[in-house]
């Protein structure tokens, strides 16, 4: 006997109890179980009405009074459908609200958090940041100070929606006010204390923070648990990994960070990115090999960094698993002294 046959028999039993045995309580109790079962297998209300008519025929219920009484059973079953429908509406309302929240977060990111790429003769910058969904967990910022230096940062905020967007706003203004002369490590310390007090306990931020002098080619950098970056050495045609060990932002108040220095010669490039790039899942669900990405940069080493990041982005999105998309962010800064 199939599940449907069982349900048909159950309904017949309910009608019999109610119409012929006058056993009201038993009929109503069975009614509730029956409603739950039919809703569970996605039966539509019209199918129940049709079953009701079939049953009346099958049981030869012709008396108008009995037919009227039988409608009370039908009503009892339909009450559960009403509840389910109202649940569904409530869920839709919730989803709408959630969507509105995402819209607010997305527009916050688009307006407040946009970085302006500085244009100077001795440096070329390429930057791209594309969210996987409506709202990004990635953030980058480049600030041109009123001298020969820029501060740049790439961050991955763990957590989504409005809290993540607010955390990014904190990073942006924190970066504006972090005193440049104190260097990247001190800047991360300031940001860490700011973030630690304000984010919820499951949230944290990884961040690479660099200060680059585009006249001298000197770079200082520090990292709060962010993916290591690379420097491409044009003359030697090699990639150097650059990293300093450090705890992610937002976990421990008063944490300190290390700082390192490097020097960029002409046509050397700094490449910083988020884990959406380095941990990219391919169509076959395997991870991308970082060497493949570096090879793509090498191929395009003569190009402007904006063209390189655009090329990387297009190639990577073609390789990416459809259901495993992550936010992708990349920055390339090139010492372009000789190009002018």
């Amino acid at each position: 006997m199939s599940y449907i046959d069982n349900l048909t028999n159950d309904y017949e039993e309910i009608l019999r109890l109610y119409l012929f045995d006058n056993n009201l309580d038993a009929a109503i109790a069975k009614c509730h179980t029956f409603s739950r079962n039919v809703i569970e297998i996605d039966t539509s209300p019209e199918e129940i009405v049709s079953l009701h008519t079939q049953m009346l025929n099958h049981m030869h219920v012709n008396d108008i009074e009995l037919v009227k009484q039988s409608l009370e059973i039908l009503e009892e079953v339909m009450i559960s459908f009403g509840f389910t429908y109202r649940d569904y509406r409530a869920m839709l309302d919730k989803l709408n609200l959630h969507d509105q929240e995402l819209d607010i977060a997305a527009s916050l990111q688009e307006t407040m958090l946009k970085a302006t790429i500085p244009a100077v003769d001795t440096m070329q910058i390429g930057a791209i940041s594309i969210p996987a969904g409506k709202v990004s967990g990635d953030y980058f910022n480049i600030i041109h100070h009123n001298n020969d230096k820029i501060s740049f940062a790439v961050a991955d905020v763990i957590g989504k929606g409005i809290p993540a967007a607010i955390a990014m706003t904190m990073l942006k203004f924190g970066m504006e006010f972090a005193h440049l002369n104190r260097g990247p490590a001190k800047a991360l310390e300031t940001l860490n204390n700011l973030v630690e007090q304000n984010v919820n306990k499951n949230m944290f931020i990884t961040m690479f923070y660099g200060v680059y002098d585009f006249t001298s080619g000197d770079l200082s950098f520090s990292s709060a648990g962010h993916e290591p970056g690379f420097i491409y050495r044009y003359d030697e045609d090699v990639f150097e990994e650059i990293d300093t060990k450090g705890l992610v932002l937002g976990v421990r108040q008063g944490n300190t960070y290390f700082e390192k220095n490097a020097h960029l010669k002409e046509n050397d490039m700094i490449f910083i990115f988020t884990d959406g790039v380095s941990e990219l899942r391919k169509h076959d669900d395997t991870f991308i090999d970082m060497n493949n990405i570096l090879e793509m940069i090498r191929e395009k080493k003569e190009c402007h960094p904006q063209d390189i990041v655009q090329y990387l982005y297009e190639t990577l999105t073609r390789m990416q698993h459809n259901l495993r998309k992550d936010d992708l962010t990349m920055i390339i800064i090139k010492n372009a002294k000789n190009n002018y």
């Binding site: 763990i158 306990k201 944290f204 648990g225 705890l247 992610v248």
Partner: protein, 112 residues
């Protein structure tokens, strides 16, 4: 994208072993297990990750939040049998230094 969670309650410690993938989709399920232990604060939490093949940053965030709650009550979070790819995540983020953690398969202990 599945996760399998086993919980074994002992008088002083809750043992949790996790298999499968811990990501934005499966983290809420694990959170339901971690949160009561962490906020209750009467037991240590020992987590075996031998069967865990993938963890994303949301999963890592769950460990961070759990660690913060446990620390408030002077309770310990131990993470053991961590697969190399996941260990790399704990290392890069510096979180390795905040908790007792061992690798798979050597079971080698890493100093706090």
């Amino acid at each position: 994208m599945n996760i399998k969670i086993n919980v074994d309650e002992k008088p002083e410690v809750t043992h949790v072993s996790i298999a499968g993938e811990l990501d934005i989709y499966t983290a809420p399920e694990l959170k339901k297990v971690f949160e009561p232990v962490a906020t209750d604060g009467t037991k240590n939490l020992h987590v075996d990750l031998k069967g865990l093949s993938y963890m994303d940053s949301t999963g890592l965030g769950l460990f961070v939040g759990t660690l913060k709650d446990l620390n408030k009550n002077d309770k310990e979070l131990r993470v053991t049998n961590v697969q190399p790819r996941i260990m790399k995540l704990f290392e890069i983020t510096g979180l390795r230094d905040l908790m007792y953690i061992t690798k798979y398969p050597e079971g080698e202990e890493i100093e706090k």
